[in-house]
């Protein structure tokens, strides 16, 4: 997992519990990297999970819920850092370009990046099925990212999770995005 994700996660935690608490949390998590991340480096995703779990324990909140919030935070960061990826007419076009364009570009820049795959299927003009598939259990993070993207495009789409869990390829989640409804926050 790229260092940018870790750095953003630590920044988010710092903004909530402060620098000192965060340092204690990182120490508690007993990370191989010692919590030192550089945004272009690559690190074990389990460290991110450990940090989230420690934070969940500290704040007594649900891990998935925390990952969704982090996904939304990450979404806001990506819009600022990579505006070119967001030059689409609506969220459907953006999501359709995830695997075919955005991830292709990321792979060019970071050949060692292990990216999740997103397969889409249009049910009709207004409904889309999106399958998340990854070796890592970050479906809630993806969910947060999608929700933030819907907000960014300012459209009235709703996001429903039809199914999620583990399969032979790792972790998966099946999302349904429907046009024509108010943006729903989780």
């Amino acid at each position: 997992m790229k260092g940018i994700v870790f750095n953003e996660l630590i920044q988010l935690i710092e903004s909530i519990i402060g620098e000192v608490q965060t340092e204690h949390l990182l120490e508690d998590a007993d990370l191989n990297s010692g919590g030192s991340y550089t945004s272009v480096g690559t690190y074990d995703h389990k460290e991110a999970l450990s940090i989230v779990q420690k934070f969940s324990k500290l704040t007594q909140s649900n891990t998935d819920q925390l990952l969704i919030s982090f996904g939304r935070h990450l979404g806001k960061v990506f819009v600022v850092k990579y505006p070119d990826f967001y030059k689409h007419k609506n969220v459907f076009f953006f999501l359709q370009s995830l695997d075919s364009y955005i991830h292709v570009s990321v792979k060019k820049l970071y050949p060692d990046a292990e990216l999740p795959s997103f397969n889409f299927e249009m049910i009709n003009d207004k409904e889309m099925l999106l399958t998340y598939q990854s070796v890592r259990p970050f479906a809630p993070l993806a969910q947060g990212l999608i929700l933030e993207t819907i907000s960014y495009f300012g459209q009235k789409e709703s996001l429903t999770i039809l199914n999620s869990g583990k399969n032979e390829n790792g972790h998966f989640a099946l999302f349904k995005i429907t046009q024509g409804c108010e943006v729903q926050d989780e």
Partner: protein, 583 residues
């Protein structure tokens, strides 16, 4: 939490961030190294590919040049035997043939002419492509050049019942410097195309222009407008590309190499001009080109406006460009003109009044009976009539002689002939001077061709035989020289009436031989025979003292004309009618 705890936590953060900075620096170095290596690889790859591309490009250019050269060489090689075929066919057509044989010879002649035209096109195109076209800068009359060219194509147009109106603006000066031959070539191509692709209506030619660059140059704009099949917008973009016709089926239907327009455009651009085209499918096309010609004098040539004082004048014809041009021209001479369509005219009524009037009647509107009636009615009338007839109009001369109140002008109407005819018609009705120049009466003491001995200098066996056959047919005596050196020696030994000098010969070529002959004989007419009709060759001939040139393939008519021009008229063994008769 006490201060020391906070300090300790912040120190941890600091060391964590420091560690990540060091890691980032390592990564950066690693990536920079990778990038450098990739860049080197890429540079090497680009260099290799560029080399490869340059080799392929050079190969392609060389192949294209070789093809051009091959095309030019082959065209030249094909032309030599073809000259023999065309020449002998010309002779064969004059011998006693049965009707069926005449038809067969006729078809063979037409096919050979077409083949020669194609080969000439390819040769000319190769020259334009290779940038080998040289331009003349000789004084010529632009108006006359356009009128002569249009007149030479009138037969083709009127054969298809097409009107061929020409309008040359009065602003066009009398003399300009430029390449008349090339301009003629462009006009023949564009007008020829227009006639070829028009089945009904007209092909009109317009020329106008203005002085530019402090009066040192004249920019002329010529447009050829037709009412033909037109070109669809898609094809319009590529018609100036070589070997392209607007529709592939055109090649089968209309023939041609598709080189004419490319050649013309190339020549126009060489002469500092541009060529453009507009067209609408089914309605017609308009080709416009401009040329920049030089002023032979340092001042603007002002053409004094002409004026005519005519009684009441009426143009009777069919509405269209021809009608409008005539009206415009007459008005520019200060003539007050009325226009009438022939459908509202009763000839008896028209000629019945006593007042003086001039009628210009387009012969397309009337039949032979009506023409006869016009002659009868105008005999004792105060009316003067000008009949505007197609070039094929046959009874013109006899009508002209019968009645001085009726004059014939052949289309395409030349502005100066119209002016002179109308001036004469209204000055003195008793003058018998016709608008057409009458040939002088034949002299009763003409020398016979047999009195002349021609030296034929030619190396190629086929052309030798052909030259001999033609000279024999025309009734001339002749002697043969096989190369330039032999011709010089023979001319030194004997006084010939004229020399027919081939251009390219072994031992000594035609130009060198002429130079030698001119050292001891300045009188003898020397006529160049060349397969190369380009103007630079013509210039060379004249510059070294040749008197005339004829182009190969030799045509008996050209040979006869040129010899007559040099030797004066003589009674040759073929009748002039026979020579003139179309194949």
């Amino acid at each position: 939490m006490n201060d020391s705890e906070i300090v300790a936590a912040l120190r941890k953060k600091l060391s964590r961030l420091e560690k990540s900075r060091i890691e980032a620096e390592h990564l950066l170095e690693e990536k920079s190294e990778q990038l450098f290596k990739l860049n080197q690889d890429l540079e090497q790859l680009v260099e290799e590919r560029t080399k490869q591309l340059a080799i392929e490009r050079d190969k392609a250019i060389a192949a294209s040049k070789a093809k051009d050269q091959f095309l030019a060489n082959m065209s030249h090689e094909i032309r030599t035997p073809l000259n023999g075929i065309i020449g002998y066919l010309d002779l064969l057509s004059l011998s006693n043939l049965t009707e069926s044989q005449k038809r067969q010879v006729d078809v063979t002649q037409k096919s050979s002419d077409l083949l020669l035209e194609l080969i000439n096109d390819i040769l000319e195109f190769s020259k334009v492509e290779a940038g080998e076209v040289t331009l003349e800068n000789q004084p010529f009359c632009l108006r006359q050049c356009i009128e002569d060219t249009v007149e030479s194509m009138a037969y083709l147009a009127y054969q298809k019942n097409l009107e061929l109106p020409v309008f040359i603006s009065e602003t066009i000066p009398n003399e300009l410097l430029g390449d008349e031959g090339k301009l003629r070539q462009i006009l023949i191509n564009l007008i020829g195309n227009a006639i070829k692709f028009t089945d009904a209506g007209e092909v009109s030619i317009n020329a106008s222009g203005c002085w530019i660059n402090n009066n040192s140059q004249f920019k002329v704009v010529i447009s050829i407008n037709d009412t033909g099949i037109g070109i669809d917008p898609k094809s319009l973009k590529k018609i100036f590309h070589p070997f392209v016709q607007s529709d592939l089926t055109d090649t089968r239907k209309f023939g041609g190499t598709g080189l004419g327009l490319s050649i013309s455009k190339g020549l126009v651009e060489k002469m500092g001009g541009r060529m453009s085209t507009q067209s609408q499918l089914g309605l017609g096309s308009k080709f416009t080109f401009s040329l920049v010609l030089n002023n032979p004098s340092t001042k603007t040539q002002r053409i004094p406006p002409k004026s005519l004082h005519l009684p009441e004048t009426t143009i009777i014809g069919i509405a269209g460009t021809f009608f409008d041009n005539l009206d415009h021209r007459l008005q520019s001479w200060g003539v007050n003109v009325q226009k009438r369509e022939f459908t509202d005219i009763n000839l008896d009524q028209l000629y019945s009044s006593k007042n003086k009037e001039v009628f210009l009647i387009d012969s397309r509107t009337i039949d032979d009976e009506e023409i006869k009636k016009i002659y009868q009615l105008s005999q004792n009338s105060s009316k003067k009539t000008v009949l505007l007839c197609p070039p094929s109009f046959q009874d013109a001369m006899s009508f002209n002689n019968q009645n001085s109140s009726v004059k014939i002008i052949f289309k395409p109407v030349r502005s100066n002939i119209l002016f002179e005819t109308l001036s004469q018609l209204c000055l003195d009705s008793t003058t018998k001077k016709a608008s057409q120049v009458q040939p002088p009466p034949p002299s009763s003491h003409q020398p016979s061709c047999n009195d002349f001995c021609i030296l034929l200098a030619e190396d190629h066996p086929i052309n030798q035989k052909l030259g001999i056959a033609m000279l024999t047919h025309l009734g001339f005596q002749f002697e043969l020289a096989h190369n330039g050196a032999e011709a010089v020696e023979m001319a030194r030994q004997k006084k010939y009436s004229a020399i027919l000098m081939d251009f390219q010969m072994p031992k000594m070529d035609g130009l060198s031989a002429t130079k030698k002959i001119r050292q001891f004989d300045n009188e003898i007419p020397i006529i160049a025979m060349t397969a190369n009709a380009f103007s630079d060759v013509r210039d060379k001939c004249m510059a070294i003292g040749m008197n005339d040139y004829i182009t190969k393939p030799l045509k008996i008519e050209d040979l006869s004309k040129s010899l007559k021009k040099q030797l004066g008229d003589c009674n040759d063994s073929i009748q002039s009618e026979e020579l003139r008769s179309p194949k």
